[in-house]
Protein backbone atom coordinates (compact mmCIF):
# COMPACT_ATOMS: atom_id res chain seq x y z
CA UNK A 1 0.00 0.00 0.00
CA UNK A 2 3.03 2.23 0.02
CA UNK A 3 2.57 2.75 -3.68
CA UNK A 4 -0.90 4.00 -3.12
CA UNK A 5 0.18 6.33 -0.31
CA UNK A 6 3.01 7.86 -2.32
CA UNK A 7 0.76 8.13 -5.36
CA UNK A 8 -1.74 10.01 -3.25
CA UNK A 9 0.77 12.53 -1.91
CA UNK A 10 2.10 13.01 -5.43
CA UNK A 11 -1.38 13.78 -6.70
CA UNK A 12 -2.20 16.00 -3.75
CA UNK A 13 0.96 18.06 -4.17
CA UNK A 14 0.34 18.43 -7.89
CA UNK A 15 -3.31 19.35 -7.36
CA UNK A 16 -2.35 21.92 -4.75
CA UNK A 17 0.04 23.39 -7.31
CA UNK A 18 -2.90 23.71 -9.70
CA UNK A 19 -2.59 20.60 -11.89
CA UNK A 20 -6.09 19.80 -13.19
CA UNK A 21 -5.18 16.22 -14.10
CA UNK A 22 -4.00 15.51 -10.60
CA UNK A 23 -7.16 17.01 -9.19
CA UNK A 24 -9.23 14.92 -11.59
CA UNK A 25 -7.45 11.79 -10.38
CA UNK A 26 -8.17 12.66 -6.76
CA UNK A 27 -11.77 13.31 -7.67
CA UNK A 28 -12.13 10.01 -9.52
CA UNK A 29 -10.66 8.21 -6.56
CA UNK A 30 -13.01 9.67 -3.99
CA UNK A 31 -16.16 10.88 -5.68
CA UNK A 32 -17.99 7.59 -6.34
CA UNK A 33 -17.63 6.55 -2.71
CA UNK A 34 -18.57 10.01 -1.47
CA UNK A 35 -21.66 9.88 -3.65
CA UNK A 36 -22.63 6.48 -2.27
CA UNK A 37 -22.17 7.70 1.28
CA UNK A 38 -24.35 10.70 0.54
CA UNK A 39 -27.03 8.59 -1.06
CA UNK A 40 -27.36 6.69 2.17
CA UNK A 41 -27.44 9.76 4.43
CA UNK A 42 -28.93 12.41 2.13
CA UNK A 43 -31.13 10.48 -0.30
CA UNK A 44 -32.16 12.51 -3.31
CA UNK A 45 -29.99 15.46 -2.27
CA UNK A 46 -26.84 13.38 -2.69
CA UNK A 47 -25.79 14.80 -6.07
CA UNK A 48 -26.32 18.40 -4.98
CA UNK A 49 -24.50 17.95 -1.72
CA UNK A 50 -21.63 16.19 -3.49
CA UNK A 51 -21.22 19.06 -5.99
CA UNK A 52 -21.28 21.63 -3.23
CA UNK A 53 -18.81 19.56 -1.24
CA UNK A 54 -16.31 19.49 -4.10
CA UNK A 55 -16.59 23.23 -4.59
CA UNK A 56 -15.68 23.66 -0.95
CA UNK A 57 -12.87 21.16 -1.34
CA UNK A 58 -11.48 23.19 -4.25
CA UNK A 59 -11.56 26.28 -2.08
CA UNK A 60 -9.79 24.60 0.81
CA UNK A 61 -7.47 22.16 -0.92
CA UNK A 62 -4.43 24.37 -0.47
CA UNK A 63 -4.86 24.21 3.28
CA UNK A 64 -5.16 20.45 3.50
CA UNK A 65 -2.27 18.29 4.55
CA UNK A 66 -2.35 14.59 5.26
CA UNK A 67 -2.53 11.13 3.77
CA UNK A 68 -5.34 9.60 1.81
CA UNK A 69 -7.35 8.31 4.79
CA UNK A 70 -7.19 11.79 6.26
CA UNK A 71 -8.26 13.24 2.94
CA UNK A 72 -11.32 11.01 2.85
CA UNK A 73 -12.21 11.92 6.41
CA UNK A 74 -11.79 15.60 5.52
CA UNK A 75 -14.06 15.09 2.54
CA UNK A 76 -16.73 13.54 4.70
CA UNK A 77 -16.44 16.32 7.24
CA UNK A 78 -17.03 18.89 4.52
CA UNK A 79 -19.89 16.85 3.09
CA UNK A 80 -21.55 16.58 6.50
CA UNK A 81 -21.19 20.32 7.05
CA UNK A 82 -22.59 21.00 3.61
CA UNK A 83 -25.53 18.78 4.40
CA UNK A 84 -26.18 20.54 7.70
CA UNK A 85 -25.74 23.99 6.19
CA UNK A 86 -28.24 23.26 3.50
CA UNK A 87 -30.79 21.89 5.98
CA UNK A 88 -31.14 19.20 3.45
CA UNK A 89 -30.69 16.36 5.83
CA UNK A 90 -33.82 14.40 5.34
CA UNK A 91 -35.33 11.47 7.06
CA UNK A 92 -34.96 8.49 4.88
CA UNK A 93 -38.24 7.07 3.76
CA UNK A 94 -38.18 3.30 4.00
CA UNK A 95 -40.70 2.84 1.21
CA UNK A 96 -38.34 4.35 -1.33
CA UNK A 97 -35.43 2.30 -0.13
CA UNK A 98 -36.91 -1.16 -0.01
CA UNK A 99 -34.92 -3.21 -2.45
CA UNK A 100 -37.17 -5.00 -4.88
CA UNK A 101 -34.48 -7.45 -5.67
CA UNK A 102 -34.52 -9.06 -2.27
CA UNK A 103 -38.28 -9.61 -2.21
CA UNK A 104 -38.25 -13.36 -2.05
CA UNK A 105 -41.98 -13.64 -2.65
CA UNK A 106 -41.93 -11.60 -5.81
CA UNK A 107 -42.89 -13.65 -8.87
CA UNK A 108 -40.24 -11.91 -10.96
CA UNK A 109 -37.45 -13.11 -8.71
CA UNK A 110 -37.73 -16.88 -8.85
CA UNK A 111 -34.34 -17.79 -7.56
CA UNK A 112 -33.39 -14.94 -5.32
CA UNK A 113 -30.58 -16.77 -3.61
CA UNK A 114 -28.49 -17.17 -6.71
CA UNK A 115 -29.56 -13.88 -8.18
CA UNK A 116 -28.71 -11.75 -5.21
CA UNK A 117 -25.43 -13.34 -4.36
CA UNK A 118 -24.16 -13.38 -7.89
CA UNK A 119 -25.52 -10.15 -9.21
CA UNK A 120 -26.27 -7.76 -6.39
CA UNK A 121 -25.42 -4.34 -7.69
CA UNK A 122 -24.14 -1.32 -5.87
CA UNK A 123 -27.61 0.23 -6.03
CA UNK A 124 -29.23 -2.67 -4.25
CA UNK A 125 -26.46 -2.91 -1.71
CA UNK A 126 -26.89 0.78 -0.87
CA UNK A 127 -30.62 0.30 -0.45
CA UNK A 128 -29.97 -2.54 1.94
CA UNK A 129 -27.63 -0.39 4.02
CA UNK A 130 -30.12 2.44 3.98
CA UNK A 131 -32.66 0.18 5.66
CA UNK A 132 -30.50 0.13 8.77
CA UNK A 133 -31.19 2.70 11.50
CA UNK A 134 -29.87 6.03 10.20
CA UNK A 135 -26.97 6.34 12.60
CA UNK A 136 -25.81 2.79 12.04
CA UNK A 137 -26.24 3.14 8.29
CA UNK A 138 -23.96 6.17 8.32
CA UNK A 139 -21.27 4.44 10.36
CA UNK A 140 -21.36 1.32 8.19
CA UNK A 141 -21.11 3.45 5.05
CA UNK A 142 -18.24 5.52 6.37
CA UNK A 143 -16.38 2.41 7.39
CA UNK A 144 -17.17 0.10 4.48
CA UNK A 145 -17.74 2.43 1.53
CA UNK A 146 -15.53 5.41 2.38
CA UNK A 147 -13.00 3.11 4.00
CA UNK A 148 -12.42 5.40 6.97
CA UNK A 149 -10.54 4.31 10.06
CA UNK A 150 -12.61 3.63 13.17
CA UNK A 151 -11.04 6.64 14.90
CA UNK A 152 -12.02 8.92 12.01
CA UNK A 153 -15.58 7.64 11.98
CA UNK A 154 -15.75 8.12 15.73
CA UNK A 155 -14.57 11.71 15.48
CA UNK A 156 -17.04 12.45 12.69
CA UNK A 157 -20.15 11.04 14.32
CA UNK A 158 -19.22 12.05 17.86
CA UNK A 159 -19.02 8.56 19.33
CA UNK A 160 -16.25 6.61 20.99
CA UNK A 161 -14.19 4.29 18.79
CA UNK A 162 -15.51 1.34 20.78
CA UNK A 163 -19.10 2.37 20.11
CA UNK A 164 -18.36 2.72 16.41
CA UNK A 165 -16.78 -0.72 16.28
CA UNK A 166 -19.78 -2.29 17.95
CA UNK A 167 -22.29 -0.39 15.82
CA UNK A 168 -20.59 -1.29 12.56
CA UNK A 169 -20.28 -4.92 13.58
CA UNK A 170 -23.93 -5.07 14.53
CA UNK A 171 -24.92 -3.25 11.39
CA UNK A 172 -23.10 -5.75 9.21
CA UNK A 173 -24.53 -8.61 11.23
CA UNK A 174 -27.97 -7.19 10.73
CA UNK A 175 -27.37 -6.88 7.01
CA UNK A 176 -26.40 -10.53 6.91
CA UNK A 177 -29.54 -11.45 8.87
CA UNK A 178 -31.67 -9.41 6.50
CA UNK A 179 -30.19 -11.16 3.52
CA UNK A 180 -30.97 -14.48 5.15
CA UNK A 181 -34.48 -13.40 6.02
CA UNK A 182 -34.96 -12.30 2.44
CA UNK A 183 -34.18 -15.79 1.30
CA UNK A 184 -30.53 -15.40 0.64
CA UNK A 185 -28.59 -18.07 2.43
CA UNK A 186 -25.27 -19.73 2.17
CA UNK A 187 -26.94 -22.31 -0.01
CA UNK A 188 -26.62 -19.87 -2.84
CA UNK A 189 -24.27 -21.05 -5.48
CA UNK A 190 -21.66 -18.39 -4.76
CA UNK A 191 -21.18 -19.99 -1.37
CA UNK A 192 -19.90 -23.10 -3.08
CA UNK A 193 -17.84 -21.52 -5.73
CA UNK A 194 -14.31 -22.81 -5.62
CA UNK A 195 -15.28 -25.68 -3.38
CA UNK A 196 -15.79 -29.34 -3.87
CA UNK A 197 -19.48 -29.88 -3.25
Amino acid sequence: MEDRASRFSELLTAAQAGDPDAFAALWRGAHPMLLRYLRVVAGDAAEDVASETWLRVIGGLGGFSGEEPGFRAWLVRIARNTLMDGHRRRFRRPETLTPDLTRADGPSVPDVADTVIDRIGTEDALRLVARLPAEVAEMVTLRVVMGLEVADVAALVGRSPGAVRVAVHRGLRRLADQLRADGVTQHGKAAFSGRDV
Binding site: W27, R28, H31, M33, E68, L128, G147, V150, A176, L179
Partner: protein
Protein backbone atom coordinates in the same frame (compact mmCIF):
# COMPACT_ATOMS: atom_id res chain seq x y z
CA UNK B 1 1.26 3.83 -11.09
CA UNK B 2 -1.63 3.22 -8.73
CA UNK B 3 -5.02 4.42 -9.89
CA UNK B 4 -6.72 6.17 -7.01
CA UNK B 5 -10.10 4.76 -7.91
CA UNK B 6 -9.17 1.39 -6.50
CA UNK B 7 -11.03 0.87 -3.26
CA UNK B 8 -9.12 1.19 -0.05
CA UNK B 9 -8.77 -2.08 1.84
CA UNK B 10 -11.27 -2.79 4.56
CA UNK B 11 -9.21 -3.08 7.70
CA UNK B 12 -11.31 -5.48 9.71
CA UNK B 13 -14.17 -7.46 8.37
CA UNK B 14 -14.76 -10.49 10.53
CA UNK B 15 -18.20 -11.02 9.08
CA UNK B 16 -17.06 -11.32 5.54
CA UNK B 17 -16.89 -15.07 5.82
CA UNK B 18 -20.62 -14.89 5.17
CA UNK B 19 -20.77 -15.00 1.37
CA UNK B 20 -24.05 -13.10 1.14
CA UNK B 21 -22.66 -10.30 3.22
CA UNK B 22 -19.42 -10.39 1.34
CA UNK B 23 -21.33 -9.92 -1.89
CA UNK B 24 -23.05 -6.87 -0.45
CA UNK B 25 -19.79 -5.38 0.77
CA UNK B 26 -18.12 -6.00 -2.56
CA UNK B 27 -21.00 -4.29 -4.31
CA UNK B 28 -20.76 -1.34 -1.95
CA UNK B 29 -17.07 -1.02 -2.67
CA UNK B 30 -17.19 -1.71 -6.39
CA UNK B 31 -15.22 0.71 -8.57
CA UNK B 32 -17.02 3.87 -9.60
CA UNK B 33 -19.41 3.51 -12.49
CA UNK B 34 -19.62 5.80 -15.49
CA UNK B 35 -22.79 7.29 -14.08
CA UNK B 36 -21.00 8.17 -10.88
CA UNK B 37 -18.12 9.78 -12.73
CA UNK B 38 -20.23 11.86 -15.07
CA UNK B 39 -19.52 15.18 -13.36
CA UNK B 40 -15.77 15.17 -13.86
CA UNK B 41 -15.60 17.85 -16.55
CA UNK B 42 -17.66 20.30 -14.55
CA UNK B 43 -15.74 19.86 -11.33
CA UNK B 44 -12.38 20.10 -13.08
CA UNK B 45 -13.56 23.27 -14.83
CA UNK B 46 -14.43 24.68 -11.41
CA UNK B 47 -10.98 23.71 -10.21
CA UNK B 48 -9.29 25.44 -13.15
CA UNK B 49 -11.37 28.56 -12.67
CA UNK B 50 -10.38 28.66 -9.01
CA UNK B 51 -6.70 28.37 -9.97
CA UNK B 52 -6.97 31.19 -12.50
CA UNK B 53 -8.65 33.36 -9.95
CA UNK B 54 -6.06 32.81 -7.27
CA UNK B 55 -3.10 33.39 -9.58
CA UNK B 56 -4.49 36.52 -11.17
CA UNK B 57 -5.28 38.14 -7.85
CA UNK B 58 -2.75 36.77 -5.39
CA UNK B 59 -3.25 39.49 -2.82
CA UNK B 60 -6.97 39.22 -2.59
CA UNK B 61 -8.23 36.67 -0.11
CA UNK B 62 -11.74 35.86 -1.11
CA UNK B 63 -14.20 34.46 1.36
CA UNK B 64 -15.36 30.88 1.12
CA UNK B 65 -18.70 32.08 -0.14
CA UNK B 66 -17.39 34.25 -2.93
CA UNK B 67 -15.01 31.59 -4.14
CA UNK B 68 -17.89 29.16 -4.02
CA UNK B 69 -20.01 31.39 -6.18
CA UNK B 70 -17.18 31.98 -8.59
CA UNK B 71 -16.66 28.27 -8.83
CA UNK B 72 -20.32 27.83 -9.55
CA UNK B 73 -19.91 30.19 -12.45
CA UNK B 74 -17.22 27.90 -13.70
CA UNK B 75 -19.56 24.97 -13.24
CA UNK B 76 -22.07 26.92 -15.25
CA UNK B 77 -19.33 27.60 -17.73
CA UNK B 78 -18.63 23.94 -18.20
CA UNK B 79 -22.29 23.19 -18.75
CA UNK B 80 -22.79 26.13 -21.07
CA UNK B 81 -19.73 25.46 -23.15
CA UNK B 82 -21.14 22.13 -24.17
CA UNK B 83 -24.45 23.45 -25.39
CA UNK B 84 -23.78 26.87 -26.82
CA UNK B 85 -20.08 27.21 -27.27
CA UNK B 86 -19.82 30.25 -25.06
CA UNK B 87 -20.19 30.36 -21.34
CA UNK B 88 -21.78 33.69 -20.95
CA UNK B 89 -23.97 33.00 -23.91
CA UNK B 90 -25.41 30.06 -22.04
CA UNK B 91 -25.87 32.07 -18.89
CA UNK B 92 -27.41 34.96 -20.73
CA UNK B 93 -29.68 32.97 -22.89
CA UNK B 94 -31.00 31.04 -19.94
CA UNK B 95 -29.94 27.64 -21.16
CA UNK B 96 -28.32 26.62 -17.91
CA UNK B 97 -30.09 24.29 -15.51
CA UNK B 98 -32.33 26.21 -13.10
CA UNK B 99 -30.05 26.26 -10.09
CA UNK B 100 -27.01 27.32 -12.06
CA UNK B 101 -29.01 29.93 -13.94
CA UNK B 102 -30.09 31.33 -10.59
CA UNK B 103 -26.50 31.64 -9.50
CA UNK B 104 -25.53 33.22 -12.80
CA UNK B 105 -28.38 35.68 -12.38
CA UNK B 106 -27.26 36.73 -8.93
CA UNK B 107 -23.58 36.78 -9.71
CA UNK B 108 -23.13 37.98 -13.25
CA UNK B 109 -26.45 39.65 -13.89
CA UNK B 110 -27.78 37.08 -16.31
CA UNK B 111 -31.56 36.69 -16.70
CA UNK B 112 -33.36 34.70 -14.05
CA UNK B 113 -34.10 31.04 -14.45
CA UNK B 114 -37.31 30.44 -16.32
CA UNK B 115 -38.30 27.06 -14.96
CA UNK B 116 -36.57 25.11 -17.65
CA UNK B 117 -37.83 27.29 -20.46
CA UNK B 118 -35.27 28.97 -22.60
CA UNK B 119 -35.50 32.67 -23.12
CA UNK B 120 -33.89 32.64 -26.51
CA UNK B 121 -34.36 31.11 -29.85
CA UNK B 122 -33.82 27.40 -29.31
CA UNK B 123 -32.08 27.24 -32.67
CA UNK B 124 -29.07 28.77 -31.06
CA UNK B 125 -28.78 25.73 -28.90
CA UNK B 126 -29.50 23.10 -31.45
CA UNK B 127 -27.37 24.58 -34.20
CA UNK B 128 -24.16 25.77 -32.59
CA UNK B 129 -22.71 26.58 -36.02
CA UNK B 130 -25.41 29.16 -36.59
CA UNK B 131 -23.91 31.45 -34.03
CA UNK B 132 -21.16 32.39 -36.46
CA UNK B 133 -23.70 33.59 -38.97
CA UNK B 134 -24.77 37.16 -39.32
CA UNK B 135 -28.14 36.35 -37.87
CA UNK B 136 -26.78 35.27 -34.52
CA UNK B 137 -27.31 38.12 -32.14
CA UNK B 138 -25.89 37.18 -28.77
CA UNK B 139 -25.84 39.41 -25.75
CA UNK B 140 -25.08 43.07 -26.26
CA UNK B 141 -21.67 43.58 -24.73
CA UNK B 142 -22.11 47.33 -24.65
CA UNK B 143 -25.06 47.03 -22.28
CA UNK B 144 -25.67 45.43 -18.91
CA UNK B 145 -24.47 42.08 -20.26
CA UNK B 146 -20.92 43.39 -20.33
CA UNK B 147 -20.13 42.47 -16.77
CA UNK B 148 -21.18 38.87 -17.20
CA UNK B 149 -19.38 38.54 -20.49
CA UNK B 150 -16.24 39.98 -18.96
CA UNK B 151 -16.52 37.68 -15.96
CA UNK B 152 -16.74 34.70 -18.27
CA UNK B 153 -13.89 36.07 -20.38
CA UNK B 154 -11.62 36.55 -17.39
CA UNK B 155 -12.37 33.06 -16.14
CA UNK B 156 -11.45 31.62 -19.49
CA UNK B 157 -15.01 30.52 -20.05
CA UNK B 158 -15.66 32.37 -23.26
CA UNK B 159 -15.00 30.33 -26.36
CA UNK B 160 -13.47 32.43 -29.12
CA UNK B 161 -15.84 31.18 -31.84
CA UNK B 162 -18.89 32.04 -29.75
CA UNK B 163 -21.42 34.75 -30.37
CA UNK B 164 -20.76 36.11 -26.91
CA UNK B 165 -17.08 36.49 -27.65
CA UNK B 166 -17.80 38.21 -30.95
CA UNK B 167 -20.14 40.57 -29.17
CA UNK B 168 -17.52 41.40 -26.59
CA UNK B 169 -14.93 41.90 -29.29
CA UNK B 170 -17.24 44.32 -31.10
CA UNK B 171 -17.96 46.26 -27.95
CA UNK B 172 -14.30 46.48 -27.02
CA UNK B 173 -13.26 47.42 -30.54
CA UNK B 174 -10.96 44.51 -31.17
CA UNK B 175 -9.58 41.32 -29.66
CA UNK B 176 -6.60 43.11 -28.14
CA UNK B 177 -8.77 45.58 -26.36
CA UNK B 178 -11.13 43.19 -24.58
CA UNK B 179 -8.96 43.02 -21.49
CA UNK B 180 -8.80 46.78 -21.13
CA UNK B 181 -12.49 47.09 -21.92
CA UNK B 182 -13.39 44.57 -19.23
CA UNK B 183 -11.16 46.27 -16.69
CA UNK B 184 -13.40 49.31 -17.00
CA UNK B 185 -16.64 47.36 -16.61
CA UNK B 186 -18.26 47.50 -13.23
CA UNK B 187 -20.27 44.90 -11.39
CA UNK B 188 -24.01 45.46 -11.74
CA UNK B 189 -25.36 47.21 -8.67
CA UNK B 190 -22.18 49.09 -7.97
CA UNK B 191 -22.60 52.81 -8.12
CA UNK B 192 -21.54 53.91 -11.51
CA UNK B 193 -19.07 56.71 -11.74
CA UNK B 194 -21.07 59.76 -12.78
CA UNK B 195 -19.74 60.87 -16.11
CA UNK B 196 -21.97 63.90 -16.75
CA UNK B 197 -21.67 65.68 -13.43
CA UNK B 198 -19.04 68.39 -12.97
CA UNK B 199 -16.06 67.34 -10.94
CA UNK B 200 -15.76 70.74 -9.26
CA UNK B 201 -19.20 70.62 -7.76
CA UNK B 202 -19.49 73.28 -5.00
CA UNK B 203 -19.40 71.75 -1.58
CA UNK B 204 -19.57 74.84 0.62
CA UNK B 205 -21.09 78.23 0.47
CA UNK B 206 -20.30 80.42 -2.49
CA UNK B 207 -17.21 82.46 -1.79
CA UNK B 208 -18.43 85.45 -3.76
CA UNK B 209 -21.39 86.06 -1.53
CA UNK B 210 -22.26 89.78 -1.54
CA UNK B 211 -21.12 91.36 1.66
CA UNK B 212 -22.17 94.98 1.16
CA UNK B 213 -25.07 96.82 -0.26
CA UNK B 214 -25.68 96.56 -3.92
CA UNK B 215 -23.54 99.04 -5.76
CA UNK B 216 -26.35 99.87 -8.07
CA UNK B 217 -28.54 101.28 -5.34
CA UNK B 218 -30.29 104.38 -6.50
CA UNK B 219 -28.54 107.37 -5.04
CA UNK B 220 -30.76 110.17 -6.13
CA UNK B 221 -34.37 111.04 -5.81
CA UNK B 222 -36.74 109.90 -8.46
CA UNK B 223 -36.57 112.21 -11.37
CA UNK B 224 -40.18 111.80 -12.26
CA UNK B 225 -41.47 113.49 -9.11
CA UNK B 226 -44.60 115.43 -9.71
CA UNK B 227 -43.81 119.09 -9.94
CA UNK B 228 -47.15 120.66 -9.76
CA UNK B 229 -49.32 121.17 -6.68
CA UNK B 230 -52.60 119.47 -6.55
CA UNK B 231 -55.51 121.63 -7.12
CA UNK B 232 -58.08 121.56 -4.39
Amino acid sequence: MVEMSEPTPLADAPLLADPALRAVVEALRAPGTEAELVGQEAVVAAFVAAQNRSTSRPTRRSSVLSSLLASKIAMAAAVGAVTVGGTAAAAYTGTLPGSLQGIAHRTIGAPEATDGKQVTDPNERTHPGAERSEHAKGPDATGPAAFGLCTAFEHGGLATPSTAYASLERAAGGKDRIKAYCAAIRRPGEHPTPTGAPSDHPTGMPTDHPTGMPSTHPTGMPTGHPTGHPTP
